[in-house]
């Protein structure tokens, strides 16, 4: 026996570690220096056991009667998991590796069965109520955009009616009626209306005081755009000072600065963990319902997110110029102005643009709780069963968000490429000044307009609603009675399972679909390139609409509850995973494929040895990322009838039980922060 073989075997006799793992799962692995694996196995076993017991007593999941004993059949896969762990420990003792697949399989069986049950999945409903779904689908494809008046009667003029109208027109036949943009469409976009003249018109002498003039009244979509713009502007401005306080390299220059740094980072993490929509619930207690509340909620979350990104950017600047300026005798403010700010401007701008994209998406749903914008419009129309009106809103959201997504991405690209201008390409300064002046005036006009239509009111900001003090007080003294905590944790579990099932379902559909949306695979001929455009189009449209807006469809289809919420999340998961997967496929390095092909491998072997190793790690990483996102989204999906913790939260808020709502928020913060941490660690380990 050589020395190297000896060192490979920490325990020559496999029996002890097998016994250890039999008594406490993972202990054998732990003692054989496989600390992480052992700990993980122990934690998984413990979690599974708790889940089985909890789901059995609460929901009767997997209930079987064995004579007089009532128990869950889910203990069986857990026992199998336990056995696998013993075999794993034995394999390690013999310096072999044992496949982890059975372990994953048994754990997955337990988790998915429980998830399936507690999320209330009833596949039969999908079929049973398929006719309802078809009605909604028909309505969605025929949005209320055009109205036709036939003998004084107004009707929605959808595709079929439009087709016959246009063909009548073209053929010179008399049309069936007169068409115009529908009231619904004008509600979304905006309309001209006689309104009392605004102050600036009177002051400019354009109108008499008190007279009525034709004014453009913004529709809900315009209001939404304004909310997103204002929130992005405010949060960028506010995040700058915050980010300096949260940047370690700046704060460590002061005595006591490090304490401020840790405090600031902590606050930012907590604020960020609470979703914009939940902030909406809190803000309406402060300033009341309306777009202004929406702007504040978006701003709060956005400041925290940008503050973190900005401060990381400040921490990663090149320290050379800072050192150089300190050496010239410049003071701290001058050093920041001349050595720090020029370095961070491009990345700050890029992050703000990214945040603009995110804020626009949130702005489309903030109305669910805060009132105002297209979200509020959707709540109102769907409550009255106006699915064709709702459809118009969805299309409007899709168009706006796709545009914003595109513009934001293009501008970010332009900013981050950041090439020094060639001397000869510099334009004359006069023209530059003129352009600058034009942009400044345009910017100011847009700012004032948005300020007006989002009804920003400093007065209501300074005069919080009468319940706000109570809310703060209750949030500090949250309700920790076992009964409340139990309910909250149960609902949180439902939420986590919802997110998990949605991720799984979305990924299952996205996996084959993503190959269709990969340009390097589909761009080879005329036919498949169209398939590619179609697939990308579907993904982009679905991705542009927030899960909260989809819930309505599924509530109509399968009924209110976690199942509907899960399906809505699955749609957005499918869209995002599909995009990420297809990009991962597009980024495959051709080199290994060429090399493996050159050895004479068959196509199947090429896939197995050159393609799969390149795409599996990013795929798994994206799945974890998506689960992390979905847990956040699932915490709010209940606001629209999607069940889970969101429902609990709105119920507590609605009944003014703020101390219980505080418990919910606290649990959400903890879980989201844990998920964030765990998902980052897991993804790091994968790459």
């Amino acid at each position: 026996m050589t020395i190297s073989e000896k060192t490979l075997k920490p325990l020559t006799n496999s029996t002890p570690s097998v016994w250890f793992s039999l008594i406490i799962p993972g202990l054998g692995q732990f003692l054989q220096k496989r600390r992480e694996r052992g700990l993980l196995i122990f934690l998984i076993t413990l979690t599974l056991a708790l889940l089985i017991q909890w789901s059995l007593t609460n929901q009767g999941v997997g209930k079987v009667n064995l004579g007089t004993i009532t128990t869950s059949w889910l203990w069986l896969p857990l026992i199998l998991f336990w056995i696998w762990n013993v075999l794993d420990a034995r394999a390690f003792a013999a310096s072999k590796t044992f496949t982890i697949l059975p372990g994953i399989l048994f754990a997955a069986i337990v988790i998915y069965v429980i998830a399936w049950q507690v999320t209330g999945i009833k596949l039969d409903r999908l079929v049973e109520r398929f006719n309802d779904a078809r009605t909604v689908a028909t309505n969605l494809l025929n949005p209320d955009v055009i109205t036709i008046s036939v003998q004084g009667q107004d009707q929605i003029c959808a595709w079929k009616c439009m087709y016959s109208y246009i063909s009548d027109k073209l053929a010179g036949r008399p049309t069936e009626g007169v068409i115009r943009l529908s009231e619904n469409f004008l509600n979304i976009l905006g309309r001209m209306k006689l309104m009392p003249a605004s102050t600036w018109r009177v002051n400019l002498g354009l109108a008499e005081s008190g007279s009525k003039v034709n004014t453009f009244v913004a529709g809900t979509m315009i209001e939404t755009i304004a909310m997103g713009l204002m929130a992005t502007l405010f949060s960028t401005v506010l995040a700058i000072p915050v980010s300096f306080l949260a940047a370690r390299n700046i704060m460590s220059r002061f005595s006591g600065g490090t304490a401020i740094y840790y405090g600031m980072r902590g606050i930012l993490n907590v604020v960020r963990a609470i979703d914009t929509i939940v902030w909406g619930l809190i803000v309406i207690v402060w300033v009341g319902l309306g777009s202004f509340a929406g702007v504040i909620a978006l701003t709060i979350h956005s400041v925290a997110a940008l503050g973190k990104l900005f401060s990381e950017e400040i921490e990663h600047i090149d320290p050379g110029p800072v050192e150089a300026l300190t050496a010239t005798g410049a003071n701290l403010i001058q050093t920041i102005r001349y050595a720090v700010i020029p370095q961070i401007v491009p990345s700050f701008l890029a992050y703000s643009l990214l945040r603009w994209d995110i804020n626009m998406r949130s702005a489309t749903v903030i109305g669910f709780v805060a009132g105002g914008g297209i979200g509020f419009f959707v709540v109102e129309t769907t409550r009255m069963g106006g699915y064709q009106q709702y459809a118009t809103a969805l299309w409007a959201v899709a168009i706006v968000i796709i545009l914003v997504d595109y513009i934001s991405a293009r501008w970010r690209e332009a900013i981050l490429s950041d090439q020094p201008q060639r001397e000869e390409s510099k334009k004359s300064t006069a023209l530059n000044n003129l352009r600058l002046a034009f942009y400044v005036i345009l910017g100011l006009a847009v700012f004032i307009y948005c300020w007006n239509i989002t009804e920003i009111s400093i007065r209501s900001l300074l005069h919080p609603g009468k319940n706000f003090g109570q809310l703060i007080l209750d949030f500090v003294s949250i309700d920790l009675t076992p009964k409340v905590v139990q309910v909250v944790i149960q609902q949180m579990l439902v939420t986590i399972f919802q997110a998990m099932l949605a991720t799984t379902l979305g990924a299952l559909i996205a996996l084959p679909f993503s190959f269709l949306a990969a340009k390097n695979l589909m761009g080879r001929n005329q036919f498949s390139i169209w398939l590619y455009y179609l697939a990308r189009g579907v993904l982009n449209i679905l991705r542009s609409i927030e899960a909260l807006l989809y819930v309505v469809i599924f509530v109509f289809w399968v009924g209110i509850g976690p199942f509907a919420g899960m399906l809505a999340l699955a749609v957005t998961s499918f869209a995002l995973i599909g995009k990420l997967f297809s990009e991962a496929i597009e980024n495959i390095d051709d080199g290994p494929i060429e090399a493996v092909t050159a050895t004479g491998a068959t196509p199947l072997q090429v896939i197995a040895y050159a393609v799969l190793p390149q795409i599996v790690p990013p795929f798994v990483s994206y799945l974890i990322y998506q689960w992390d996102i979905n847990v956040r989204m699932a915490t709010i999906i209940g606001f629209a009838g999607g069940g889970g913790i969101g429902l609990t939260l709105t119920t507590f808020f609605g009944s003014l039980q703020y101390h219980k709502a505080g418990t919910v928020v606290a649990v959400i913060v903890i879980i989201v922060a844990l998920m964030d941490f765990a998902s980052a660690k897991l993804r790091q380990a994968l790459i």
Partner: protein, 252 residues
Amino acid sequence: MLKVENLSKVYPNGTQALKNVSFEVKDGEFLAVIGLSGSGKSTLLRCINRLIEPTSGKIYWDGQDITAIPISEMRKIRRQIGMIFQQFNLVKRSSVLTNVLSGRLGYVNTFSSSLHLFAAADRAKALASLEQVGLANKAQVRADSLSGGQQQRVGIARALMQDPKLILADEPVASLDPVLAHSILKYLEQLNKDRGIMVLCSLHFLDLVHRYATSAIALKDGELVFQGLPKQIDDSQFKAIYGQEAERVSVV
């Protein structure tokens, strides 16, 4: 005159970068600081303008002990001490002119400089400094559009804005081609001879030391192992500084 007495520096991680270093530099000297990487050259230069706080020892600048004064006073001393860096340390996205003007920050008030308002005299001075390093036509371009040698000349122009009495140069030519190395060192030599600015310059190549320096010190593991004229560094001295394995190489 610069006088360093028993200077020591221990970093928080326990590394002793300087051990009881003492030496004197007379006005008008061009002092080369030599030694291996990690021998304490950079720490020594940075202790002189207190970018790094020395652990113990004294530094006398024109008879004043600058290790004892508060940092606000030190900023006034720093104005007299220009510094040039291996990586140039320019703000890449700012224009060459702004980089040069930033050398004047120690003299101007915080408020107006924050708004990028500089006196006409300062602007003229910046252009004159650029003229002196042969980059007057590059004032408006971004610093990162220049080559390495040009960027280092901007670094010199920035130091000139301070009206320095002393220039600390931390391996100013280590990132440059040998030909450019001579051009940069010639500028420093010119400033040293024409304006009488004292120069402390850490260098790697011994023939550059012979060519430009008027005196030299050598550090090894944080200790001063040589002090004298450049030409006194013979082969045995060389091996004492750089170790027995070292071979002399020359630069163009």
